[in-house]
Structure formats: structure tokens, C-alpha cells
Symmetry: C2
Subunit: 201 residues, 2 copies
């Protein structure tokens, strides 16, 4: 015996979500069916629209349902000479929320990972090379994650940028603001020390 | 700045799933958009069908897209004289998988919970009373979870069954106190069934 066909199909489909196994999928299906059909129908609608209509921005590769994303369309950013390379759309959002950066982005949608078969082409590095070649950008900020894969990806892109004689910078690693020194891992602390700056009174 | 409208809408919609907060919803949306559009479209399709077409079995309240569920339709069970009352469809599946029980079920779809405003009517106890009144059932097995709410619900149903002079039993042996029925292994559940005792008011 299984659940009724439609319920079983719903449970099976929910398992395509990352981190959702058989038991969670079952709990989700029952919750929607019993307590939130409106939410379930809304999700169905959003999903089917997004899966069909959301593509990648032709300039920065971020998700968008238009040819260009909001940032690439923005007149204020048209003449930006700084390009910030990040791994994911969430990174763009986080950086935008600081209000510190007014240049353009390039979203890799991942990082180099030979084990998973993810190479330069999967990250759109051919498109990135065209941006470098265009002459628009004087500086590229390598803002990939400070992980092994993120560092390797930053290194690969730095090699590429160098061919076009573009200035490169890497976001600073160190003790997070508000963090406590004794709880920061040794590697981060090393970075914090080697990247120390002259103290301004 | 937010994500593009369709992406933001997808993230917001995913938050209707139990246990899914803003960060998980974002991760799920990116995963589907970047790595599994087919899975996402399939989920959209399953969801929209299930939300519209899945209802409750008119006899046992389990989820089904027909008037009666597979078990209630089964000729083998038509003359069953034992009724097993459980909290959720997952419990029915777990009990069916032991192969020990050949009677009928009644699925409460929850338990009494005054704090959440869930009373007897929300659990279909009016329909259950009609089953008791029909004279078909000689015994009711109270198979709600061995939690505080499950015990209270069992007690309430026992009161009801007593009015109709139906024998009551409560599954007992092997189910860990404080545990949830659907997560118990089949062997333990078999023992719980064969070791059931007459319910003491
Ligand atoms: Zn863009
Ligand atoms: Zn039924």
C-alpha cells in the first residue's frame, strides 16, 4: 500500500528540493494538503512561472526574467568601471544591502569544481573574458567565498584578468565585525594579522 | 534591491513549506533554477493537481482523489469489525506495512489541541460517532501517538465509544513513550498491535 497516486506523486516531487528526504517530503505534503492549500497553489503557480520565464542576465548572469537584470539596466551603473565577481545571486543581494558598492557584478553561479565536472565554461568565464576585453573595467574585485574552491576560482579569474591588464583586488578576510577573537578560526586570524592596517586615531 | 520579481515570488512561496525559512527558501529556489528546472516544473504540476483534486475519504478521512480511499473501497475490508483510529495518513501507511491489521481505519488528521483551536469537529469526531452508531464495529483500536495530546485524544474517543458499548483497546507494547507512531519500525509496531490491551477509563 502506498498513498493515493496524487499524494504519492506530490511527495516524490517534493524530494527534488535540496535537503528534503522522504520523511520531510511527506510532512510537507500533509501540511499543505491539510493546512495550507492556498499556499500550495501559490507555490505551484510561482514555480511554474519561474521555471519557464527566469533566465540569466546577458551581462552579469544573475537570474532575471528580462534580457538584462535590474542592476545592469540601471543608468547609474552604465559607466561603472569596477566589476565585482561573486559566486551566487545571494552574494549580490548581500553586497547591495551594504550600500558600499556602485559598480557592476558578474555572477558565476557556482565555483570551479573539477570533482563535480564544473569547469570555466559552466561559470560563464567566456562571457567574463569579453567584459575584460571590452575595456570598460579598470578594476575587478574577486569576491568569491574564502573557501578552497572560491580561492581557486578567484585565482583562475585573476589569471584571466591579468591578460587584459586589469587591476585586481580580493575582498579582505579577517575577524568579522562584532565577532570575538577567541572564537575565530586560526586561518581567519592569520589573514586578519597579515592584512592588518595602520591604526587611525 | 531584491531579487527579480519572479525569483523573489518563488522564494516567498517556498516559505509556506514547514521548516523552510528565508535562507532555505533562497537555497531551494537557486537550486531549482540553476540545476533542476525539470524537477521544479514537475513539482509545480504535482502541487497544482494535488491542491485541487485531493480530498478526504468520506469514510475514513484519509487523503484520496476519489470519494473513497483504496482501503475503504477494498472488498476484503467491507465487513471489518475492527476500527483503528490514527492521527495521520503516515500512520495508516506504517500500520499497513506491518501486514498485521486487516480492519478499517479512521484518520483524525491531527489530535485535540485546544491551544491551536483544534477541537472534536476538526478531527471529524462527528463522522466517527456515526461509524460507532452504525453497529458495524465491535472494537475500536486507539492508535493515536503516545504523546500528551495523543493520549488526551484517545481518552476523548474512548468516552465516545463507550456510549455505544464498543470494546476499546489501546496499542501499548513497544511504542516508545513520547515517540511518534509513523517513525517506529514495523516489528515494534507489530508487537504494539498484538500486545494491545483493553482500554481502562
Ligand atoms: Zn545583470
Ligand atoms: Zn477511506
Amino acid at each position: 500500500m502506498k498513498f493515493s497516486p496524487l499524494v504519492q506523486e506530490l511527495i516524490d516531487s517534493l524530494k527534488c528540493l535540496p535537503g528534503v528526504g522522504a520523511k520531510s517530503a511527506q510532512r510537507m505534503a500533509f501540511h499543505l494538503l491539510e493546512r495550507n492549500r492556498r499556499g500550495g497553489s501559490k507555490l505551484a503557480h510561482s514555480l511554474s512561472k519561474a521555471m519557464v520565464d527566469v533566465g540569466h542576465c546577458q551581462q552579469c548572469r544573475n537570474f532575471t526574467e528580462h534580457e538584462l537584470c535590474e542592476i545592469c539596466q540601471s543608468p547609474k551603473r552604465q559607466l561603472a568601471t569596477t566589476l565585482c565577481v561573486v559566486e551566487s545571486p545571494g552574494d549580490v543581494l548581500a553586497i547591495e544591502q551594504t550600500g558600499e558598492f556602485t559598480g557592476k557584478y558578474f555572477v558565476l553561479m557556482g565555483h570551479l569544481s573539477p570533482i563535480d565536472g564544473i569547469g570555466p565554461d559552466d561559470l560563464g568565464l567566456d562571457i567574463l573574458a569579453k567584459h575584460f576585453a571590452s575595456g570598460q573595467f579598470a578594476e575587478v574585485i574577486l569576491a568569491t567565498n574564502p573557501t578552497v574552491e572560491g580561492e581557486a576560482t578567484a585565482h583562475y579569474i585573476a589569471d584571466l584578468a591579468q591578460e587584459y591588464q586589469i587591476n585586481m583586488s580580493r575582498i579582505a578576510h579577517g575577524v568579522p565585525v562584532g565577532g570575538e577573537l577567541e572564537y575565530v578560526d586560526g586561518n581567519t586570524l592569520s589573514h586578519a594579522f597579515s592584512g592588518r592596517k595602520s591604526y587611525q586615531m
